[in-house]
């Protein structure tokens, strides 16, 4: 039985980004294809170009050259259309700390143009999904680190985006919150949402990603499913060992 090729939802073609006054490019010919319904891991050491790539894909940064499209829309020329399709869970807790989680979600729901009559239902669904329904009326400033991360995720999925970008969504939180976030991400993916995920935790990537690319100095140095990559590498029993073998052990910052 032949497997039907999955639809490519996001693709980049020879993407280059050179920051002003930088001596080398942050992205140097990056080409990616992300299939619909996958969890795509974008891995790399600090300074490899992950955040630059995510910023370009989320319409926050213009590439110096190369093409990027999401569901056929050019990210540079059709940024407005692309913004309706994407969700972002940034590395920062991008919430208003003096507002409650519910107030934050209501505000971002309006900005995402969710119809007024559906806002309360959708806000409650998202709060429940991340386990914050009971403390939704507390100010975000009073939340623990894990709760803030979960609220940050809830805002990203409010409008049920086609593709969700997650920039290190589990950094600096306890094992329980981390486990919950990973479970919810898997659930969302099962529901049809495509995820592009960056992390420094290799076991997370190995656990949830269907496909990964490892980039360094703005270039892809390995790509494939985590399992295949580990199996194909001699002397590597897991993704972390493979990652260190490919990128080296020297400090990057």
């Amino acid at each position: 039985m032949t497997q039907t090729p999955r639809e490519i939802l996001l693709s980049t073609d020879n993407l280059v980004k050179v920051y002003p006054a930088a001596d080398k490019p942050a992205l140097d010919g990056l080409s990616l294809n992300v299939a619909r319904g996958s969890i795509f891991g974008l891995l790399g050491p600090n300074g490899a170009g992950k955040t630059t790539a995510i910023s370009i894909l989320c319409t926050l940064l213009r590439p110096t050259s190369g093409g990027v499209s999401i569901l056929g829309h050019d990210v540079v020329r059709q940024a407005k259309e692309v913004r309706r399709l994407i969700g972002l869970v940034p590395q920062d807790i991008a919430l208003y700390p003096s507002l409650t989680a519910r107030e934050n979600l209501r505000y971002f729901a309006r900005i995402q143009r969710i119809p007024s009559r559906k806002i309360e239902t959708r806000v409650n669904e998202c709060l429940e999904l991340v386990g914050l329904l009971e403390c939704a009326d507390r100010r975000v400033a009073t939340y623990s680190g894990g709760m803030k991360r979960r609220a940050n995720l809830a805002v990203g999925i409010l409008h049920q985006p086609e593709i969700l970008f997650l920039d290190e969504p589990t950094v600096g939180i306890d094992a329980q919150s981390r486990s919950m976030i990973l479970e919810r991400l898997t659930e969302l993916n099962r529901g049809g949402m495509t995820l592009v995920y960056t992390t420094h935790y290799m076991e997370e990537a190995q656990q949830i990603c269907d496909e990964i690319v490892i980039i360094d100095a703005g270039k892809v140095i390995a790509s494939g499913s985590p399992k295949t990559l580990v199996n194909d590498a001699a002397d590597c029993s897991n993704l972390e060992e493979l990652f260190l073998a490919l990128t080296g052990k020297q400090l990057r910052d």
Binding site: L60, P90, R110, V155
Partner: protein, 439 residues
């Protein structure tokens, strides 16, 4: 809908910072209250009302009292002769000035009347004999507070000279009236001989001394532009709108701060990945802070109308064009908020925004005549003052409060303020667009 969502969010954020909100409303009220009171005193000291001064009259004759009456009749001096039980001597008069209770003291010496009468008589005699005689002039002493500025000191000295001149003329006239018949008699005696002169029944001229007090020229004072400056503003009419505008423009700092905080917290980055227009994001802030500005405006006018009069200032008269007043207030608030957005977009940190925002508002206030009237500034500064949005607002408010201005007469000021708002928003949008396009 998106604009409303942004306005609602901004108001919600403001309402959560109660201490900040208190500062936003209470500090401008305090500013108007304190500065209007201080400036009110300055208005009084620089001629709007009589200046209070110590008058120590030690004269043993009547001229010391006459001089005091002459000085008070000018209307610019209110002389204090009662030392409230303290010893009436030169050292206590000097002490009262030194301690800052009064800005100056006039001391009339004991021999003042005798000396001035004698000097007047000598002067008239010298005139009759066509000789120049060195006069033994009377002395009048003034103690000035060393902090008193030049113009004020000159005004007081001029009042004193004016009083003394009146007194001198009166004394010389009296001496002339008294000495003229004697001088005529002496001249006849000399020309005809004493015996013949005695046989003649001469009717010698008698001169009334009152002629010396009659003015020969009347000085009429009239504004060069009576249609525009029919009435001069009272201290409150000048200070309340001036410092109200100053307070409103300080909205720049918290408003710029919200933009910078959103950038630092990452919420702005998140918003930039969402389907929301730049206009909605920026104008949401403008309109929310516009509401704050207008509440500030109402509170600060209330201070002028109800609180300042309790502290001895005139009541703030608001004129008879409430619609024009509201439109000027809205335009000024928009100008302030537009500037706040521009500073917020251009500044890279809160420190930058707060220091640049505050200093630029102070400079604009100084240029616009908030602190000192434009007409006392150097010519270059006067030319530059037309660039100040605070000046445009102040001129429009004064037009309504003082000159019975209406919507038509404040239109240039309103247009300038709205133009400034649009300019700021346009520049901020250009920068914002560049951020959003990742340039």
């Amino acid at each position: 809908m998106l604009l409303l969502a942004n306005i609602k969010k901004e108001l919600l954020l403001l309402s959560r910072d109660r201490a900040g909100l208190l500062v936003l409303f209470v500090m401008p009220m305090l500013l108007v209250l304190v500065l209007s009171l201080i400036q009110d005193n300055l208005f009084r000291a620089t001629g709007e009302t009589a200046t209070r001064a110590i008058y120590l009259n030690l004269d043993q004759g009547a001229l010391g009292g006459k001089l005091g009456a002459l000085l008070e009749s000018t209307g610019s001096l209110d002389l204090i002769t009662d030392f409230a039980g303290e010893k009436r001597d030169i050292s206590s008069a000097r002490q009262k000035v030194f301690s800052g209770d009064y800005q100056f003291a006039v001391v009339v010496p004991p021999e003042f009347s005798a000396e001035i009468t004698s000097a007047a008589e000598t002067a008239v005699q010298s005139a009759f004999s066509q000789k120049t005689t060195d006069l033994t002039t009377g002395q009048l002493m003034i103690f000035f507070d060393p902090t008193v500025r030049g113009v004020y000191r000159t005004a007081v000295t001029n009042s004193l000279y004016r009083g003394l001149l009146g007194l001198e003329i009166a004394q010389k006239s009296e001496a002339f009236a008294r000495l003229l018949p004697l001088e005529v008699q002496r001249s006849i005696n000399q020309q005809l001989g004493t015996e013949m002169a005695a046989q003649m029944q001469l009717d010698l001229p008698v001169i009334s001394s009152s002629w010396s007090r009659q003015s020969l020229i009347e000085l009429t004072e009239e504004s060069a532009y009576p249609e525009k400056y029919q009435t001069l503003p009272t201290s409150v009419q000048q200070n309340v709108p001036a410092w109200t505008l100053f307070g409103m423009f300080f909205i720049v700092i918290p408003l710029a701060g919200t933009l910078i905080r959103e950038r630092q917290e990452g919420t702005l980055t998140r918003l930039m990945t969402m389907p929301v227009g730049n206009g909605s994001l920026l104008l949401g802030k403008v309109f929310a802070y516009q509401i704050v500005c207008l509440i500030q405006f109402g509170l600060m006018l209330s201070v002028g109308k109800f609180i300042l009069p309790l502290l001895g200032t005139p009541v703030l008269e608001l004129g008879s064009a409430p619609l024009a007043l509201i439109i000027v207030a809205i335009s000024a608030a928009l100008a302030a908020c537009g500037y706040g957005i521009l500073v917020g977009v251009l500044a890279r940190s809160y420190d930058q925004a707060s220091s640049f925002g505050a200093v630029s508002v102070v400079i604009a206030a100084a240029l616009g005549g908030v602190m000192v009237p434009v007409y006392v500034m150097p010519r270059v500064m006067q030319d530059l003052s037309v660039l100040s949005p605070l000046g445009w607002g102040l001129e429009a408010f004064l037009d309504i409060f003082v000159r019975n201005g209406n919507l038509l007469s404040v239109l240039p000021g309103v247009a300038a303020l709205l133009g400034f708002f649009l300019f700021c928003i346009f520049c901020a949008s250009v920068v914002f667009c560049r951020w959003r396009r990742g340039i």
